[in-house]
């Protein structure tokens, strides 16, 4: 599965015009915050917070075309809500790895603007 959907990104660029870099920057900041909050939530066993963070990251990621990341977030959210604790460390690791790649790609895009 592709990291970032090019067609969707083109649409976003059209839509946002001058605000496109700002949108990318917002995503970079927001996704970092959500991920750290998710990691803290897992450490303290707060599954409700974990689910909400995963949900939020899922929405933003799907909106910027990070399809694979949105999938992993969805899996993490589901596991948190179903309290399947044994799956949570792996699910978070999948999100963490994919997020690192997505952020690198978004940063590259941002620099290219």
């Amino acid at each position: 599965m592709e990291r970032l959907n090019d067609a969707l990104l083109d649409e976003l660029r059209d839509l946002m015009e001058d605000a496109f870099p700002s949108l990318l920057q917002t995503y970079l900041r927001d996704s970092e915050l959500q991920f750290m909050a998710a990691r803290d939530a897992l450490a303290s066993g707060d599954l409700e917070s974990l689910g909400r963070c995963a949900h939020s990251l899922k929405g933003a990621s799907s909106n910027i075309g990070a399809v694979q990341l949105a999938e992993y977030c969805c899996e993490l959210e589901r596991s948190a809500r179903q309290a399947r604790r044994e799956r949570l460390p792996l699910a978070l690791e999948l999100v963490s790895d994919e997020l690192r790649e997505v952020r690198a790609a978004v940063e590259a895009l941002y620099r290219a603007c």
Binding site: L23, D30, S56, A60, N63, I64
Partner: protein, 578 residues
């Protein structure tokens, strides 16, 4: 250009909110942003947006709760809410609708779909606003209409009131189909105290019917109070309605005159169901059937105002209704019918069938609703004693009037056949202010003197005919025949003398007849126990009402003196008050 439409975008996720805001703004809407549930409510109150995009999952106050509170705040105003959600489970989506959501939008956001949804909801909102405006306008118009109708009804009720019916021996039901009644029921006393009742059923309902009822009621009240006969009133009503009602409109009517002194009912029925006379003794029902065309159809020359007179003893009941009762339909469309009406009355023995009739009609109709006005009246004959003395209208001031005068008034054969002199004579006598409080007695005296002179004097009818119940109607038939062939005269002579607080009115009536053995008659009367015969009641009445009564010559001339004094009147009033 119109003000842009305000849209509230509430999403805690910065990226998502930024995207939505951009899309919505680019569509020409004015956007307010909210970062969580509480913020959304605050912004809603502050900016009163016309549409709301609401994230379902927000920290603090979630989207469901925000939607509920926004709908509460909006009241009657329609504020469309689009839920932003990646929820896909059916029950979650149902929750959104339950909370007041009008549509969904899922992530990733699609510009084209969002645009279409905003437009669709905006159209719905406009439609809703228009509908509310039209509804408000209709209800304003309706309120205005009701107000006008109520004002008109107040006028109508003042004219066509049923005040004369509020006595214990009359029971009635009037149920209007619309605010106005197609039926009219009016009652009044003539100067002699006879009760005149007119029941009418106009074609149509509501305004059309009410417009005809007003002049009818006016004629009825005006002429009854002046002492006109039922025939004269009907003739005038027919003439008036013929002139004012549009083609195809008319009024079925039943006119009744109850004479409590003589124990008679005089009637004229033009197109209404038969009135039913039930005797206090005996089971035979008598039907007062329609034998005329309704009012407002035939020309003056062809109008037949002839009435019939029936004996009615105290306790006898008369029941009448309009078509609405007879034609009341049940759920299957079956009419109540006259037979059923008749049967219930027949089964009532001597009791009042009024309640049973009313219940039977309502039961028959059930929930099927009404399609005509329902009017039902029951009048029970009472004796003059039961009736009680009617309080004569008080005339506190005594303006100067005629004090000493004489009048001679002679009616020839044509006048005797065609006219009624009583209203005119009553009017002249009422010019004497001191006599106004005696209006009822004076009218009774005049009416008795006139009918004796005409019927027994000029026409030579034998009142002993009235002794049997069947003879009663024979008598009135003979009277009608004799009136056709009549020749002769009746002369009234009045002499009025007033001296300070005392006064007297002498009335002398002479007819062209052969007279009668008055001395023997008066002896006879003084021997008979009271009230056993119909004939002679008139003479007794005269004797009671007047100061003196004297027959002259061969008996074709009678003189009565009606005398009064203020002191005596005062004493009587004081006694009556105790």
């Amino acid at each position: 250009m119109a003000d842009p439409i305000r849209v509230l975008v509430a999403d805690d996720n910065d990226v998502d909110r930024m995207l939505l805001t951009t899309i919505v703004r680019k569509e020409g809407y004015e956007v307010q942003e909210a970062v969580d549930g509480f913020d959304a409510l605050r912004k809603f109150v502050e900016h009163r947006p016309q549409m709301v995009l609401l994230d379902a999952m927000m920290p603090g106050l979630d989207g469901f709760e925000v939607a509920r509170r926004i709908k509460e705040q909006a009241g009657e105003e329609f504020v469309p809410i689009i839920f932003l959600t990646s929820l896909t489970a059916a029950d979650e989506l149902a929750r959104c609708l339950d909370a007041g959501g009008d549509d969904f939008l899922s992530k990733p956001y699609n510009k084209v779909i969002l645009k279409a949804k905003l437009n669709a909801l905006h159209r719905m909102r406009t439609l809703h606003v228009t509908m509310q405006e039209q509804r408000d306008e209709i209800s304003r118009h309706h309120a205005h209409l009701i107000q006008e109708q109520e004002a008109a009804k107040a006028v109508f009720d003042n004219v066509a009131h049923t005040g004369g019916l509020d006595v214990p021996f009359v029971r009635y039901l009037i149920s209007p189909l619309a605010i106005f009644n197609g039926d009219v029921l009016v009652a009044a006393r003539n100067p002699a105290g006879d009760l005149y009742v007119l029941l009418g059923d106009f074609t149509g309902h509501g305004l059309t019917a009410a417009i005809g009822a007003m002049p009818l009621a006016e004629i009825f009240y005006g002429m009854t109070q002046k002492g006109f006969t039922p025939g004269e009133i009907l003739r005038e009503a027919n003439r008036k309605l013929l002139g004012i009602l549009p083609k195809g409109y008319f009024c079925c009517a039943l006119m009744l005159v109850f004479n409590f002194h003589k124990g008679t009912v005089e009637f004229w029925n033009g197109g209404l169901p038969p009135a039913v006379l039930m005797r206090a003794r005996g089971h035979d029902l008598l039907h007062l059937t329609s034998s005329h065309l309704p009012l407002g159809i035939v020309s003056e020359e062809r109008f037949d105002a002839s009435t019939r007179v029936l004996e009615m003893a105290a306790g006898d009941r008369l029941l009448m209704c309009t078509d609405g009762i007879i034609e009341a339909r049940d759920a299957r469309g079956q009419a109540f019918g006259f037979e059923r009406f008749d049967q219930i009355i027949g089964a009532a023995a001597a009791d009042s069938p009024f309640d049973r009739l009313k219940q039977a009609v309502y039961r028959h109709m059930g929930a099927s609703g009404r399609d005509d006005d329902l009017t039902l009246v029951e009048i029970t004959m009472v004796t003059p004693e039961q009736l009680g003395r009617d309080a004569a209208p008080v005339e506190p001031e005594r303006p100067a009037g005629s004090e000493d005068w004489q009048l001679s008034y002679e009616l020839g054969p044509r006048s005797l056949r065609a006219s009624n002199p009583l209203p005119l004579l009553q009017h002249i006598v009422m010019e004497v202010p001191q006599l106004r409080s005696h209006a009822s007695a004076i009218y009774t005296v005049l009416a008795e003197l006139y009918s004796n002179a005409l019927e027994h004097g000029v026409m030579g009818l034998d009142s002993s005919l009235k002794a049997s119940a069947s003879g009663f109607s024979d008598y009135y038939q003979a009277r009608a025949r004799a009136l056709e062939a009549l020749d002769g005269f009746v002369r009234f002579e009045f002499a009025c003398q007033i001296d300070g607080s005392r006064g007297s009115l002498r009335i002398r009536v002479r007819d062209s007849g052969p007279g009668f053995d008055h001395a023997a008659r008066i002896r006879e009367l003084s021997l008979e126990p009271r009230g056993t015969a119909y004939f002679g009641r008139g003479l007794r009445l005269l004797n009671n009402l007047c100061h003196s009564l004297e027959y002259r010559g061969c008996g074709n001339e009678v003189e009565v003196v009606f005398a009064w004094s203020d002191e005596a009147d005062g004493a009587i009033e004081r006694r009556a008050a105790r």
